[in-house]
C-alpha cells in the first residue's frame, strides 16, 4: 500500500498541512456546488442563442467552467462510446469486418462539417432550452475526440498476450471479470495517452464550436472560446491577454492536477516483467501526495464497486449454469443480428439515396470548382507539413540528443503545444490581416500551429531512441555533418517522423476548415480552398455543397492515408526499425 502523503513531515507541519487541505477541500466543494447551480441555471434557462459575450476578466472563471464542463462531458461520452465500439470490434469477428474500416473513414471526416447538421438537429429537438445548443456543441467535440480512443482500445484488446487470455478462460472469468481485470487494465496506458491527445484536440474544436454562424442564425455560447473570438473581433488586446492567460492557466492546472497523477498511476498497468528504474518525475505530485483526487476516487469508490459487480455477475453466472446446463440461445441471437443488419442496410440505402438526390442539383462546373479548391488546400496542407518538418526535425533531434537541453525545452514545448491553435488564431489574424497575402500566411500558420507538435514530439522520441553504440560507431567512422544525418539520424528517426506526419496531415486537413474562412471584426475573411468552401456552405446553408465538399475532403484524406502514409509506415516498420 502507498504511504500516506504526510508521513514524512514533522508533526507540527502535518497539522498545518491537514488544516490547509481541509480548507481547500471545503472551498472546492463549495465552488463545485455553485458551478453545478450556475450550469443548471444556464442550461435549463430559455434558449439564448446569441448570448452577450462579456469582455470583463471577472466573467472568465465562470466562462472557463462552462468550457471545462463541455469538454469533460464530451470526453466522458467519448470514453464510454470508444470502450463500447472497441470492445465490439475486438470481440466479434463479424462486427470487426465493418467497424474497423468504418473507424478509419470516420476518423478522416472533418469534424467541423458536421457542425451545421448536428446543431440544427439539436436545436430542433430541444427548441426552447439552452441545453439544445449546449448538447450540440458537446456532440461536436465528441466527434473530434472519440475515434483515436476507440482505435487505441481496439488495438490493445487485439494484442492481449495469448497466455493471459488462456489464464482468464481456464480460471472461468466471466465476460465482466475479464473486462475489468484483463482487457481494461491492459488497455489503460494506451487509453490514457490517447485521452490526453483527445482532450487537447477538444480544446482546439471548442474554440470553433462556441461561436459560429449558421445561415441567418448566429450561435454564441458563453465560454473561453467565444470570449477570445469576441475579443479578437473587437480588437480588444487587454481582453485577449486575459482570455489567453485564463486558458493557459486552466490547461496547465488540468495537466498537473489530472493528467500527471493519472500517468503516474497508470504506470502500474505497464505490461512488463521487470520493474523499470525510471519513474515519471512530477514536482506537483510530491506536493499533493502521491495520489490525487481522481485516484483516491478510484480507490475508494470505483474499485469496490467493480469488485462487488464482478462477484454479483459471477454468482449470477453460476446460478444460471446450474439451472440451464446447456444454454441454447444461438438461434434468436442470429435472428436479431439479421434484423439489425437489415435495418442498418435500409437506413444506409435511404441516406445514400437522399444524399445523391441532394447533390444532383450541383452542376459539373460546381464539382470542378470543388476539386480546384481541394487542390489548393492540398498544396497548403503539404506546404504547412513541409515547413513543420523543416524546423521540427533539427530542433527535435537537438532536443532529443541533448539531455540538458531536453530538460529545459521539453516542458516549454509541451506548454506551447497545449495551447489550442484556434485560441491563438484571432491574435495571429490581428497581425497578418493588413499584410498582402496575410490571410494565406495566417491560414498556414494555423495549420502549422495545430500540427507541428505531433512531428516535434515524435522526432524527439526518435532521437532519444538512437542507441548510443550507433552514435559511437558513427563517430569512429568519422561521419560528420551531412554524412551523419544521412547515414544515422534520418534513418533512425524515420519511423517516428512518419508517425508524427500521419497525425499532422489529418489534423491539418481538419484545421483548414477553421483556417481558411473566418469571421473577423464584423466581416468575413477567407481564402480559396476546400476548408473555406465547407465553412461558407455551412454559413450560407448550402447543404448540397456542404455534403459534396465534406465527401471530397474525407475521400482525399483516406486516399492520402492509404496511398502515401500507410506505405511509408510499412516501409518504416520493416526496414528502418531499430531492432535489438
Amino acid at each position: 500500500m502507498l504511504l500516506p502523503p504526510t508521513a514524512a513531515r514533522p508533526a507540527g507541519a502535518r497539522w498545518a498541512w491537514a488544516f490547509l487541505i481541509d480548507i481547500a477541500v471545503f472551498l472546492f466543494v463549495f465552488a463545485a456546488i455553485y458551478g453545478v447551480y450556475a450550469i443548471g441555471r444556464s442550461w435549463l434557462g430559455p434558449a439564448v442563442p446569441q448570448a452577450q459575450i462579456s469582455q470583463s476578466p471577472r466573467a472568465l472563471p465562470l466562462y472557463a467552467l462552462y468550457s471545462l464542463v463541455r469538454i469533460s462531458l464530451a470526453y466522458g461520452l467519448s470514453l464510454v462510446f470508444a470502450l463500447g465500439y472497441g470492445y465490439l470490434a475486438a470481440s466479434s469477428r463479424r462486427a470487426e469486418v465493418v467497424l474497423v474500416p468504418l473507424l478509419d473513414i470516420l476518423q478522416s471526416i472533418p469534424v467541423l462539417s458536421f457542425l451545421p447538421g448536428v446543431m440544427l438537429a439539436m436545436v430542433a429537438l430541444i427548441p426552447h432550452r439552452q441545453i439544445g445548443v449546449e448538447l450540440g456543441s458537446i456532440l461536436l467535440i465528441f466527434t473530434g475526440q472519440v475515434w483515436n480512443i476507440a482505435f487505441s482500445f481496439y488495438s490493445s484488446l487485439k494484442s492481449v498476450p495469448r497466455e493471459l487470455k488462456e489464464a482468464a478462460r481456464i480460471y472461468r472469468f466471466g465476460r465482466w471479470q475479464r473486462f475489468v481485470e484483463l482487457d481494461l487494465p491492459f488497455a489503460t496506458i494506451g487509453l490514457v495517452w490517447n485521452s490526453m491527445m483527445s482532450v487537447a484536440g477538444g480544446w482546439f474544436f471548442l474554440m470553433a464550436c462556441e461561436m459560429f454562424v449558421l445561415g441567418d442564425r448566429d450561435f454564441r455560447l458563453p465560454g473561453l472560446g467565444s470570449f477570445l473570438q469576441t475579443a479578437a473581433s473587437n480588437g480588444n488586446t487587454r481582453a485577449i491577454v486575459w482570455g489567453l492567460s485564463a486558458m493557459i492557466t486552466l490547461i496547465v492546472l488540468l495537466d498537473q492536477l489530472v493528467w500527471r497523477p493519472i500517468i503516474v498511476w497508470a504506470d502500474k498497468f505497464k505490461f512488463e516483467q521487470v520493474e523499470s528504474t525510471s519513474a515519471t518525475p512530477n514536482t506537483f505530485l510530491n506536493l499533493i501526495g502521491r495520489a490525487s483526487l481522481v485516484i483516491r476516487g478510484y480507490r475508494l469508490v470505483l474499485r469496490p464497486v467493480l469488485h462487488s459487480l464482478t462477484l454479483t455477475f459471477a454468482i449470477g453466472a453460476r446460478r444460471a449454469a446450474e439451472r440451464l446446463p446447456t444454454p441454447n440461445k444461438q438461434s434468436p441471437r442470429r435472428w436479431l443480428l439479421g434484423i439489425f443488419a437489415a435495418t442498418v442496410m435500409v437506413g444506409l440505402g435511404f441516406a445514400v439515396f437522399h444524399a445523391v438526390r441532394e447533390m444532383s442539383d450541383l452542376h459539373r462546373k460546381d464539382y470542378f470548382g470543388l476539386l480546384r479548391s481541394a487542390g489548393l488546400t492540398f498544396v497548403r496542407v503539404n506546404a504547412a507539413l513541409l515547413i513543420g518538418a523543416l524546423w521540427t526535425v533539427p530542433a527535435g533531434v537537438a532536443i532529443g540528443s541533448n539531455p540538458r537541453l531536453a530538460r529545459v525545452a521539453q516542458p516549454l514545448a509541451q506548454l506551447a503545444a497545449s495551447i489550442p491553435a484556434t485560441a491563438l488564431f484571432p491574435v495571429i489574424l490581428l497581425f497578418f490581416i493588413h499584410l498582402r497575402g496575410g490571410l494565406e500566411i495566417a491560414a498556414m500558420s494555423l495549420m502549422l500551429l495545430g500540427t507541428q507538435w505531433y512531428i516535434l514530439f515524435n522526432v524527439i522520441a526518435g532521437a532519444m531512441a538512437i542507441p548510443s553504440d550507433l552514435k559511437e560507431a558513427a563517430q569512429i567512422f568519422g561521419f560528420g555533418g551531412w554524412e551523419r544525418w544521412r547515414r544515422l539520424i534520418l534513418p533512425a528517426i524515420f519511423p517516428y517522423l512518419v508517425t508524427g506526419m500521419v497525425t499532422a496531415s489529418g489534423g491539418a486537413w481538419n484545421a483548414s476548415i477553421v483556417a481558411e474562412y473566418f469571421h473577423f471584426q464584423g466581416r468575413i475573411v477567407s481564402t480559396a480552398g476546400l476548408g473555406s468552401t465547407i465553412s461558407r456552405a455551412s454559413d450560407s446553408g448550402r447543404f448540397d455543397v456542404l455534403l459534396a465538399s465534406t465527401l471530397i475532403m474525407a475521400t482525399v484524406v483516406v486516399l492520402i492515408n492509404r496511398l502515401v502514409w500507410r506505405r511509408l509506415y510499412r516501409l518504416a516498420s520493416s526496414r528502418f526499425k531499430l531492432e535489438t
Binding site: M1, P161, E163, L164, E166, A167, R169, I170, Y171, R172, F173, G174, Q177, E181, L182, P185, T188, K268, F269, K270, F271, E272, Q273, V274, E275, H307, T310, L311, A314, I315, A317, R318, A321, P325, T326, S574, R575
Partner: protein, 442 residues
C-alpha cells in the same frame, strides 16, 4: 518404495481421457494439414504424467485440447468417463510465461479465480492466504508481480492454480523460463507438496522438453514424435522418490529416452521422402527443421573432431544444450545426408567429412548439391526460377505452394528457412525489400 502407484489397476477410471483426438487445418482447396495424429491418452489419479518432446511438436496444443482451451478437430474428451458438458472440468494451468496479471497484487492474482467462482470476500482471503503460505510466498501478498523474481512469480502461478483445488494440475513447461537452480528448487517444492499430500490435486500433467525434469518428477513419461505429433513411446518410471540423478537406473532411463527422441526411424523416413518424391508440383513437402547452415557446420566440425562418431546425449551435455536445441541441427545434417544417427550416436558420412574439412567455398558447393538432391522444396524453387525468362519470382509464389501443406505460420517459417538455405547454397538471391527471388547465375 513407490510413493504412488505408477501402473493403474484396470478398474480405475481415468480422470481425463482423450480418444482419437486430433488436430488438423483444412486448406481452402480441401486438403488437410495434420498437426496432431489421432491420439489416445489418459490421466489416472495419483500420477504425475510428463509429456516430452522437442519444441514445436504439438505438446502444448495437446495440453490445450485436453483442458478445453482449444477445440479438437476430431475425437472426444472424457471427464470421469463422461463427455464434457455444461461446466468445464475443474482443472488449472501453470503457464510457461507465468501469465500473471501485472496490475494485480499477489493476493489479488490468487483470489481472481475464486472471485470468478463467486466466493465471498472473507472465504476468498482465507483460501488464498492458506495457499500463498503453502507455496512459500508469505509476506509477498501485497507485492506486484514485477517486484518478484522469476521463481517467486512462478510460485504465484502455482498458488493461483492450486487455489481452485483442481483435480488435475496442468503445467505447460512451467520451469523452462527459470534459471537452472531456481527451476530445481521449484521442482523440489512441487514434489514436496505432492508427495506430502498437502494439496487436494489428484493428478499432475506436465509438458516439458527437459528429459531429466521428466525423469525426476514423473510416474509415467510419454514421448511425442512430430510431423504430425503422435505418441512415440510410453515409459513407466518405477523409481522411489526422491530420485538420485547419479543412480544408474536414472541415467539408464535418461539415455533410453534420448535414444527414443533421436530415433533414426523418423529421420530415415524424411530422407526417403526426399529421395523418392519427384519435382512434380503436387508432391508431399517435407518439413524443414528451422536451422541456419552455420550451426550445422559447427556441429559437423565437432563430430569430425571427435573421430566421426559421438553420443548425442554426451554431446548435448558438453555443449550445455537441451535436446530441442540440438535436435533440429542434427535433423538438418541428416536430411542433407551429411550425418547418420544410430542408437543415439551421430555418425558422420563421407560427404559430411568433406564438408567439415572444406573451406567456405567447398562447403557451399557441398551444401548446394546436397540441398538440391535432398530438399524437394529447394529443387522446386530452382526449377521454377529457371522456368522464368527473367529468372525472378516473388516469395509469395512459393508461400502459396507451401500453404497447401502447412498452416499459415508454419508456411512462413518454412519459406524463411528455405530462403536462408538457398542463399547460403547460392541457389538464388533474395531481396527482402521487394520480396523477389532471383536465380544465381553460376
Amino acid at each position: 518404495m513407490l510413493a504412488r502407484m505408477s501402473t493403474p489397476a484396470t478398474a480405475v477410471v481415468p480422470i481425463i481421457e482423450v480418444r482419437q483426438i486430433e488436430k488438423f487445418y483444412t486448406q481452402p482447396d480441401g486438403s488437410r494439414v495434420q498437426v496432431i495424429a489421432p491420439t489416445d491418452l489418459a490421466i489416472y489419479p495419483g500420477q504425475i504424467l510428463a509429456l516430452l518432446g522437442p519444441s514445436g511438436c504439438g505438446k502444448s496444443t495437446l495440453l490445450r485440447m485436453m483442458t478445453g482451451l482449444a477445440p479438437a478437430s476430431a475425437g472426444s474428451v472424457l471427464w470421469h468417463g463422461q463427455p464434457v458438458r455444461g461446466e468445464d472440468p475443474n482443472v488449472a494451468i501453470v503457464f510457461q510465461s507465468f501469465a500473471l496479471f501485472p496490475w494485480l497484487t499477489v493476493l489479488e492474482n490468487v483470489e481472481a479465480p475464486l472471485e470468478a467462482r463467486g466466493f465471498p470476500s472473507i472465504e476468498r482471503h482465507r483460501r488464498a492466504l492458506r495457499i500463498i503460505d503453502a507455496v512459500g510466498l508469505d509476506g509477498f501478498e501485497s507485492a506486484y508481480p514485477k517486484e518478484l523474481s522469476g521463481g517467486m512469480k512462478q510460485r504465484v502461478g502455482v498458488a493461483r492454480a492450486l487455489v481452485v483445488e483442481p483435480e488435475v494440475l496442468f503445467m505447460d513447461e512451467p520451469f523452462s523460463a527459470l534459471d537452472v537452480l531456481t527451476a530445481e528448487t521449484l521442482r523440489g517444492e512441487l514434489l514436496e507438496l505432492w508427495l506430502g499430500h498437502k494439496i487436494p490435486t489428484r493428478a499432475i500433467f506436465i509438458v516439458t522438453h527437459n528429459i531429466e525434469e521428466a525423469v525426476v518428477l514423473a510416474d509415467r513419461i510419454i514421448v511425442l514424435g512430430k510431423n504430425p505429433a503422435h505418441i512415440h513411446a510410453d515409459f513407466n518410471v518405477e523409481m522411489a522418490q526422491p530420485r538420485d540423478r547419479k543412480a544408474p537406473r536414472f541415467l539408464e532411463l535418461v539415455d533410453a529416452i534420448y535414444r527414443v527422441l533421436t530415433h533414426p526411424g523418423l529421420r530415415h523416413d524424411l530422407v526417403e521422402a526426399a529421395l523418392t518424391t519427384g519435382p512434380a508440383v503436387q508432391h508431399r513437402q517435407i518439413m524443414l527443421p528451422h536451422t541456419r547452415p552455420g550451426g550445422m557446420a559447427g556441429l559437423l566440425e565437432i563430430v569430425a573432431d571427435q573421430g566421426g562418431r559421438v553420443d548425442l546425449h554426451r554431446l548435448a551435455d558438453d555443449l550445455s544444450l537441451e535436446v530441442d536445441a540440438l535436435l533440429p541441427t542434427v535433423d538438418t545434417a541428416v536430411l542433407l545426408g551429411l550425418l547418420r544417427v544410430e542408437e543415439g550416436d551421430a555418425i558422420i558420412t563421407p560427404e559430411g567429412q568433406e564438408f567439415a574439412r572444406g573451406d567456405i567455398q567447398t562447403r557451399k558447393k557441398i551444401f548446394r548439391n546436397a540441398a538440391l538432391a535432398h530438399v524437394p522444396l529447394l529443387r522446386q524453387m530452382e526449377q521454377s526460377l529457371k522456368a522464368k525468362s527473367d529468372r525472378t519470382l516473388p516469395d509469395e509464389f512459393f508461400r502459396d505452394l507451401l500453404d497447401e501443406h502447412f498452416s499459415d505460420d508454419e508456411a512462413r517459417r518454412q519459406l524463411e528457412t528455405a530462403i536462408q538455405w538457398g542463399r547460403y547454397a547460392e541457389i538464388f538471391d533474395y531481396d527482402a525489400a521487394t520480396g523477389k527471388l532471383t536465380l544465381t547465375e553460376v
